[in-house]
């Protein structure tokens, strides 16, 4: 038992005061150490769902439970990695990674030790005193992942973290994330609209419908890591998910 999304619905005020539904009755349970991916057509409320799971947005109905306790505010126990990295441009790489530890009141020498250790793990050592803008986008996202890991979250939410990267960098970042997952066994909820990425990374893929987002399908990817992107089984999973997304698009 880890993170549970219980009957989550979200509405936004729409034109003429008529509320526009964004999410409708989402029930989802993330088990410890599992890699789950949300996939769905664009505008299906994936990002909204992650923000609700992170405690940043309060849902219109339903609740989020972390180990049985309700999450109503952001907490370092639930980390969030953003598509646009969201690194603090006025802080160096090391200071960015230290941020979460700083918030926990850990003293400077210990913070630096832990941050350096994470930089080694995420293969960004040597850039301690650089500023984010001086790094490539792939490197920046590694920093953002290291910064999230530094706060020791129980669950890591990732909102299309590789969406802004070119396809070469994207592939290498996927491999990087898998290695991290194998070594650290975090619980991950990953959002993407890239089918290849979802099949390559996940143990479970959850299919969402068009807006308002509802859970429509659950795919269990029973392939051992590392996965071969061009293998027959891999392609079968891709086709299955592609068919699902096509059906969802036409269902409008």
């Amino acid at each position: 038992m880890s993170l549970i999304l219980e009957n989550i619905s979200q509405e936004y005020p729409g034109p003429g005061g008529i509320p526009t539904p964004a999410l409708d009755g989402i029930n989802l349970e993330l088990k410890n150490g599992r890699f789950t991916t949300l996939i769905g057509p664009s505008g299906c409320g994936k990002t909204t769902l992650l923000k609700i799971a992170a405690g940043l947005t309060r849902p219109t109905a339903g609740r989020v439970l972390l180990d049985g306790e309700e999450v109503s505010n952001p907490t370092p126990k639930i980390g969030l990695v953003f598509q646009e990295f969201a690194l603090f441009p006025w802080r160096t790489i090391l200071q960015n990674i230290e941020f979460g530890l700083e918030m926990q009141g850990i003293r400077s020498s210990e913070r630096k030790k832990q941050a350096r250790e994470l930089m080694r793990k995420t293969e960004i050592s040597g850039f301690e005193s650089h500023f984010p803008s001086q790094l490539s986008e792939g490197m920046q996202q590694r920093v953002a992942i290291a910064r999230t890991l530094a706060a020791h979250p129980r669950v890591i939410l990732m909102d299309e973290p590789f969406g802004a990267l070119d396809s070469q960098t994207r592939n290498s970042m996927q491999e990087f994330l898998l290695k991290l997952f194998r070594d650290e066994h975090p619980t991950i909820l990953f959002v993407t609209h890239n089918i290849d990425e979802a099949v390559f990374l996940s143990q479970t893929v959850i299919g969402l419908s068009q807006r308002p987002g509802r859970i429509r399908a659950e795919f269990s990817i029973d392939l051992a890591h590392p996965r071969e992107r061009t293998s027959l089984e891999f392609n079968n999973y891709r086709r299955e998910i592609l068919d699902f997304l096509d059906r969802e698009r036409k269902a409008l």
Partner: protein, 259 residues
């Protein structure tokens, strides 16, 4: 890797200025205009050195005039920042406060600081109080407006990121909002300081009690018909203004290295 912006200005940047000085000097040398009405740069420089040593009126050195002017600027500057920064951050942070503040600001802002001189003299008398009030007015609005838009312009994703990393309200303000808005705030300070400096000198033209101040010195020179001393005073005003601007620009660049 490091893309440092140049911090020193190459000497070649001053060539156009030098050419103007040379033409001006030559014009006076060939008597194209009267050196009494429009003294050449060499004469102004000589006068400036003389003003430093002997002073105008005698005993009132140019450097002392500058120090008094700077003192008034500093006081006005501190007062303006002490008011504009908290108000600006508050208005940037709270839409309700912004709505309340906006009409008041927009009504007072179009009044040029110089239009406040008569009322400042009546309220505060001639002296440090009124001149500081005027310069504070000049600095206040650019700083306030830039602080508001700086805070409002902070990318909300930084705040979301900080919240998920465990930042409370206080850390959110001190460790995210302020550093994120700082480059914009400093732009406001830079603009404000320029306006304030101009206001101050104009305010000194109307009179000071201490007998010191660059604007006051210029008025004294005018009464004596000393154009060279007027120009030397104007040059000092320009030079000090330029140096202040460069200082703020340097800080501004330093804080926005990354963004």
């Amino acid at each position: 890797m490091m893309t440092k912006k140049p911090r020193t200005i190459p000497a070649s940047r001053f060539f156009p200025l030098l050419i103007i000085f040379i033409l001006w000097e030559l014009g006076a040398y060939f008597s194209l205009f009267s050196p009494e009405v429009f003294p050449p740069p060499s004469r102004v420089l000589k006068t400036a050195l003389e003003l430093l040593v002997r002073g105008l009126p005698p005993g009132h050195g140019l450097h002392l005039h500058a120090v008094y002017s700077l003192l008034r600027v500093s006081l006005g500057f501190v007062i303006a920042l002490a008011l504009a920064l908290p108000l600006g951050f508050l208005a940037g942070w709270s839409p309700g406060f912004h709505r309340a503040l906006n009409p008041i600001v927009n009504l007072i802002r179009p009044i040029p600081p110089l239009a406040w001189i008569p009322v400042a003299v009546i309220w505060f008398g001639i002296g440090l109080k009124s001149s500081s009030f005027l310069i504070a007015l000049g600095i206040f609005f650019p700083v306030l407006l830039n602080t508001i838009s700086g805070v409002r312009g902070v990318n909300p994703v930084y705040l979301d990121a900080a919240r998920t990393l465990g930042a409370g309200e206080f850390s959110l303000i001190t460790k995210v909002l302020i550093p994120a808005a700082l480059p914009m705030v400093l732009t406001g300070v830079r603009v404000g300081l320029g306006v304030g400096w101009m206001t101050l000198v104009a305010a000194e033209l109307t009179g000071v009690r201490s007998g010191y101040g660059l604007g006051f010195m210029i008025m004294t020179a005018r009464d004596l018909g000393r154009v060279d001393a007027i120009l030397a005073g104007m040059a000092a005003i320009g030079l000090i203004g330029y140096l202040m601007d460069r200082t703020i620009l340097f800080l501004e660049r330093k804080t926005s290295t990354a963004s």
